[in-house]
Amino acid sequence: MASIRLENIVKRYGAFTGVQNMSLDIADEEFLVLLGPSGCGKTTTMRMIAGLEMPTEGNIIIGGEVVNDIDARDRDVAMVFQGYALYPNMTVYENIRFPLRMRRVPASDQDRMVRTAADMVELGAFLDRKPGALSGGQRQRAALARAVVRQPQVFLMDEPLSNLDAKLRQSMRVQIKHMQRQLRITTVYVTHDQIEAMTLADRIVIMNKGAIQQVGTPDQIYTDPANTFVAGFIGGPPMNLIEGTATGGRFTAPGVNAPCPANLSGRITLGIRPEDCTVGGGQVQGLVYGVEPTGDVTYLSVLAGTKQVEVKAARDFRSDIDVPITIGFDPARLYFFGADGQRIRGGA
């Protein structure tokens, strides 16, 4: 068990900066998710914690010890990879036992530990199989068992669910979270899937272009986004971001007219989540662009000017396209962002 601290980490590849001046404290037993689009530096950050990459500048501290110069094999860190990375020539049993053998765990303990780990992921019946004879979900569970078997100080997971189908992903997600709570091991989890981040994390770190955009609990990130990037990244569908002009306490954009704080003026961006919009009301006048019933809720796209506004409508809402429609905003749930994309605090 250990806390992790990143101090002013920089990672450069030639002229390209992969991670810029990143500082982060990860508490003991915390489940931290690094979230961002591909190429944002989240995997690089994780690989530096694992010891598979060296930071160009800064310190990585695990359990109070600077580990910059400690090789990956000697950091007590276990990693689960996107492509599972099971050793194809070994059976599931041998795969799970591999880290124990490498760390010279007494042979008498190995068998018991392997079986405990396999049972934890419900793979007890598949120990004699080679990875090639397992399904995708079973492979991922075998990879998890290999990571938990030696009870490392830190767990690193690099998009472990991205190769699984949607249904399996949901059940594996629950299993991973359960396991992490059960073992109480500090976990860093990398994903580009905001649902995974929201459901798994104690805290989320949102990254873009090698820099941290915001750190917070899922609730904070959702209800209090720091900038347009975070606002547009979280939520499904994400927050509507409408660029327009503020003058005299009104925000206007083509087809949109909404209240805003009187002190705002000039080019700003208005943000409103789809669930805070209602059909009827006077803020948006547009045409129905599309209607997507999903069963428990219907998503409605409205074209206002050239901008599509997403609305979470009642489950029985139906409409033809190109029908004129008005949309209302919950005035208490409006967000405003400056021209630089940063949030303007103070509310409407």
Partner: protein, 280 residues
């Protein structure tokens, strides 16, 4: 109906017919060798074709009485086997370094290794003769081992390297975080994962080595180091003329161990060859 669908049986028959004919074409040289080996000398050189040959074991008796063919076979097997082992011991770590480590001049070194294969062997034949003479290795199967190994080393290195490039880097990262060092990763992860490639490279090297003639002729001067390929040449000269049936029989004897080897590892070999082909 104008068009009838062919029955399943018919199409299967056709398939077997086509494949069977093609197999016959491929096997014809071997069958032909077989019949030559089992016929008397006089019958082989007649200008008229003989459809119903007389079978005889003349060539076999000649080999057994006059030629130490078992010794030649032993020399071949030892020299070829030894050379392949040397190749693998040197090529696997080299291929791993070329495939994975990032060091200055990596591409140049890789190309240099390959370029040794581009040289015409005759250019170095004489220097090699004097080199081995000066270290007292003439007429020794140790010398043959070294030469075969040297000839094939570049090829073996490159084949194995291309397989190692195909192994996901994640596997090594996983092994490293699991606590394995470089040698352990090579031995327990990389080598098993590219075993088809290693086997392919070894078989190709063995085939090249068993057919090697020039250097073997140069180095081997007595039956102490004669191999099958040089022994073959001894049936073509001298007062007895060209002894075709003995040549055919010796070729057959040289061919059988390779055939057995290929059959044993066929599964790996076909996988290996196609993988290499797709990768290019």
């Amino acid at each position: 109906m104008a068009r009838m669908r062919k029955s399943r049986g018919e199409s299967l028959l056709l398939r077997y017919l086509v494949l069977g004919s093609w197999a016959l074409v491929c096997l014809l040289p071997i069958l032909w060798f077989g019949t030559i080996a089992l016929r008397p000398r006089t019958e082989i050189v007649t200008p008229q074709p003989i459809y119903w040959p007389t079978w005889s074991l003349d060539a076999w008796h000649l080999l057994m009485s006059d030629w130490p063919i078992a010794l030649y076979l032993r020399n071949s097997v030892l020299a070829v086997g030894g050379s392949v082992i040397i190749d693998l011991i040197l090529a696997i770590p080299a291929a791993y370094a070329l495939a994975r480590y990032d060091f200055k001049g990596r591409e140049d070194i890789g190309f240099y290794i390959l370029s040794t294969r581009m040289m015409a062997p005759a250019i170095v034949a004489v220097p090699i003769f004097f080199l081995f003479k000066s270290v007292g290795l003439l007429d020794s199967i140790w010398a043959l081992m070294l030469i075969y190994a040297a000839i094939n080393l570049s090829l073996v290195t490159w084949i194995i390297r291309s397989y190692m490039l195909d192994i996901p880097k994640e596997l090594e990262d996983a092994a490293r975080t699991d606590g394995a060092g470089d040698l352990r990763i090579l031995w327990e992860i990389i080598i098993p994962a590219c075993l088809p490639g290693i086997i392919t490279a070894a078989v190709i090297a063995a085939i090249f080595a068993i057919n090697e003639f020039l250097f073997t002729l140069l180095i081997a001067s007595t039956s102490g180091a004669y191999t099958m390929s040089v022994a073959l040449a001894n049936f073509t000269g001298g007062s007895d003329g060209v002894i075709y049936n003995a040549i055919a029989l010796v070729s057959f004897i040289a061919f059988v161990p390779v055939l057995i080897l290929v059959i044993l590892i066929q599964k790996h070999l076909s996988r290996g060859l196609t993988m290499g082909a797709v990768k290019g």
